[in-house]
């Protein structure tokens, strides 16, 4: 009983004195779930390579949530690095500034491809952005008139496609991937089919037309997946005629279950993405709070380690996991820019 009372007293005391917390000696990172696996690999290797620093803590939760935490302010109670699968928005930079976070450094770690894949036993798909747009947009132009998407089967979209009901599992709106999907696929397809012009001709201004192009149909043919790619994979396991949107790294880890579609005739791979041939790709980045450098032990070393060729080079653990390395000069530029302490 005495031991219990003592433990209780100790716990209450620790809770009471918590306000006077000791200095944080661990880097804290939060943000995109797409960048998370890469950040985990680097954090773990960092902890192993530098035994005098603690292993950084990497939170998941999404680009927006991470940047929001990042922009809370400066000090030990705030995170040091925000991972993002999209660029920071001007509004977020403003919010950061308002909270006193002025020196933000952007680090591009490499590129990620977004692929369309279906069940391994299905037929090959050779997609064009126009096909995806016609299959998944909320409204399309049929016979000169803008109507609700009438297509029910892939074969109606393009006669080369199988006679499958359209069922696509796409990332939900909170994902950074969704934005890339909308811009690089739907908007591109809208442009290619001439639907964009038709919309403008129909009296919409350019911006509204583009926004309308990127609206996804809501009649059940396109399903938003708010979870991770494992959920998308489970959906395709359950519905063998479904089509899913994945990150390249996830696909490469599941090549025995998924068959990837070519886009505009290009098969997604680290090579075609690095060369820019494959159209649907995006940079992955993280943002560093420069005010924390020198305050949080190991932060500078962590960023330098992340940028080194042994982590993000073409023959590195991140590349093996599926990251598309940036070209040599760009990696070099990232390193010198961090050294110079350039801020946004």
């Amino acid at each position: 009983m005495n031991v219990l009372k003592l433990a209780a007293a100790a716990l209450v005391a620790s809770a009471a004195f918590a306000g006077a917390a000791s200095a944080r000696d661990q880097i804290q990172v939060a943000g995109s779930s797409t960048v998370l696996p890469y950040a985990k690999i680097v954090a773990e290797t960092f902890g192993e390579t530098f035994p005098n620093f603690k292993t950084p803590v990497v939170e998941s939760g999404g680009s927006s949530a991470g940047l929001k935490e990042f922009c809370k302010g400066v000090g030990e109670g705030t995170i040091d690095i925000a991972n993002a699968s999209r660029k920071i928005k001007d509004s977020e930079v403003e919010a950061c500034k308002a909270a006193g976070v002025t020196d933000i450094h952007e680090v591009v770690i490499g590129y990620d491809g977004i692929v369309f894949a279906s069940d391994i036993n299905g037929p090959d798909f050779t997609l064009e952005p126009a096909d995806v747009y016609k299959g998944l947009a909320a409204k399309v132009v049929v016979d000169g008139a803008l109507v609700d998407n009438p297509y029910k089967k892939w074969s109606e979209v393009n006669e080369n496609f199988p006679d499958w009901d359209i069922a696509a599992y796409i990332p939900g709106e909170k994902h950074g991937t969704r934005e890339v999907f909308e811009e690089k696929v739907l908007a591109a397809g809208c442009e290619a089919t001439g639907d964009m012009e038709a919309r403008v001709a129909g009296g919409m201004d350019e911006k509204a037309a583009e926004k309308d192009c990127m609206a996804v149909r809501k009649d059940g043919a396109a399903v938003d997946i708010d979870g991770d790619y494992t959920e998308t994979l489970a959906r395709i396991d359950a519905n063998k005629t479904g089509m899913g949107v994945f990150g390249l790294a996830f696909y490469e880890n599941n090549t025995d279950k998924l068959k990837v579609a070519t886009i505009s005739g290009v098969t997604p791979s680290t090579e075609t993405i690095a060369s820019g041939e494959y159209p649907v790709s995006r940079p992955l980045q993280f943002y560093v709070k420069m005010a924390h450098i020198g305050v949080i032990p190991g932060l500078k070393e962590y960023v330098e380690f992340f940028l080194s060729d042994q982590m993000v080079g073409p023959d590195s653990p991140l590349a093996e996991y599926g990251l598309v390395s940036a070209p040599e000069e760009e990696r070099e530029a990232q390193r010198s820019s961090f050294e110079a302490g350039e801020a946004l």
Binding site: E44, T45, E59, E69, G77, T230, N253, N254, D256
Partner: protein
């Protein structure tokens, strides 16, 4: 004589028959009801069995891990080529340990050392964690340098999955992550007794890892333990004190009614709301550290309090009023009545309620998301102030991993969580049996 005359009347002859009909109907109703009850129980057990079967059949493999035991030559030319380890301890930290592992396997498999591609592939059979495993071994026994000693290293997650049959080898080679050559090597190593499955202690003691083969629940178990301790220490006394006051001392008026309604409402509030509260109050206002199990414990305390208060009040209400009257009647004060008589009798009910509340808190992830505990944490938390995760969080994180080897780990983690829950519930039953008093 009179009996016989009465039974002979026509009214009596008719009524037993009418009553028979009613009886039959009522028996039938009872049989139906029993059937419904049994069907409900059967359905419940069936679903439980399906759940347990899927989890256990998928996850039992996670408690075995493929290991490679091979003689490693701790060559000085690799570890410390300039013989400087005496003056610079960093030499031993930074040495190229993966090369040692690779050389050992190349020799064991008889691969041509000049075949660069094959040598690289051989190096991939052993986990990247071999760097740390070999380093720690050398740091502890520096005199092994220059000798050849058999060492056990963890095999790569893909090798593990292949050996356990989780990778479909019927798929064409170019679509698989393991090549035919690697499968041949694996078979050779197994035949030579170099590669074998062992009990996986790593899943219990390791921290998080991006490599499936070394990922473990250690940090999550400690984090959950800290949080449960904090919940127990804070929620139990506060909850019991609040219920005793409300039940035994407080006047019954509109205010106590309002409080009662609010406590019941609080018990039904979605847990994520408590996470938001925790973020706003404990982290942003009080400045407690992110990702710390202290904050997690405080948030879960808030979440568990209403459950404990409701259970405790029910337990106090169940104590017969006669006990109270008797205690007061022989001159006990109200305080003595509560603490000497009512509380001990209510203890089993309070305990059950507390443990159910704790078990609920143990399985909670949503509030932890907002306070930064859904995170990748490698280092053990020394105090509740250090970053940590929790058991259900670890399940969630592993479920989102892309690698095949994590599928098995996820189910393994679920088994561990279920074992903890079962242990807590058994403890609740034992404690209740022990303290239960009958009168």
């Amino acid at each position: 004589m009179t009996d016989a005359t009465i039974s002979a009347t026509p009214i009596d002859a008719a009524s037993p028959r009418r009553r028979d009909i009613g009886l039959k109907k009522r028996y039938a109703a009872e049989r139906r009801f029993r059937f419904y009850g049994q069907a409900a129980i059967f359905l419940g057990i069936l679903f439980l069995a399906i759940l347990l079967w899927t989890v256990v059949s998928k996850g039992v493999g996670a408690f075995q891990q493929t290991m490679i035991t091979v003689p490693v030559e701790f060559a000085q030319s690799v570890i410390d080529p300039k013989d400087k380890r005496a003056e610079d301890p960093n030499v031993l930290l930074m040495a190229n340990y993966p090369l040692l592992a690779r050389n050992a396997l190349v020799q064991a498999l008889g691969v041509d050392p000049d075949d660069k591609k094959a040598v690289k592939a051989v190096g991939g059979l052993v986990s990247d964690s071999s760097r740390v495993e070999l380093r720690n071994y050398v740091m502890e026994n520096p005199d092994v340098i220059g000798k050849t000693i058999p060492v056990t290293m963890t095999a790569n997650g893909l090798v593990d999955s292949t050996l356990k049959g989780h990778i479909d080898l019927k798929v064409p080679e170019e679509r698989r992550q393991v090549s035919d050559q690697e499968v041949a090597w694996i078979n050779q190593l197994v035949d030579d007794g170099i590669m074998q499955k062992q009990f996986n202690t790593g899943i219990f003691v390791n921290g998080a890892s991006s490599r499936a083969e070394t990922a473990g629940m250690g940090v999550a178990i400690i984090g959950s333990f800290y949080m449960m301790a904090i919940v127990l220490v804070l929620a139990l006394p506060i909850g019991v004190a609040a219920s005793i006051y409300l039940e035994e001392f407080a006047p019954k008026n509109r205010w106590t009614d309002v409080i009662e309604v609010n406590i019941n409402n609080l018990a039904a509030v979605p847990s994520i709301v408590f996470g938001l509260l925790g973020l706003a109050v404990f982290i942003n206002f009080m400045g407690l550290p992110r990702s710390a199990s202290l904050v997690g414990g405080l948030v879960l305390t808030l979440m568990t309090l209403p459950t404990i208060i409701i259970a405790t009040r029910a337990a106090l209400k169940a104590v017969p009023p006669s006990i109270r009257s008797a205690a007061l009647g022989i001159g006990a004060s109200k305080m003595q009545m509560v603490f000497h008589h009512v509380l001990p009798l209510a203890a089993p009910g309070i305990l059950t309620g507390t443990i159910i509340g704790l078990a609920q808190a143990l399985g909670e992830t949503a509030p932890l998301l907002l306070i930064g505990m859904v995170a990748f944490v490698v280092d053990y938390p020394a105090t509740p102030m250090d970053p940590a995760t929790a058991l259900p969080v670890q399940i969630f994180m592993w479920a989102n991993e892309a690698e095949r080897a994590f599928v098995e780990r996820t189910s393994g983690a679920i088994i561990i969580l279920l074992l903890f829950l079962a242990a807590m519930n058994i403890a609740a039953i034992i404690l209740r049996r022990k303290f239960e008093r009958r009168w």
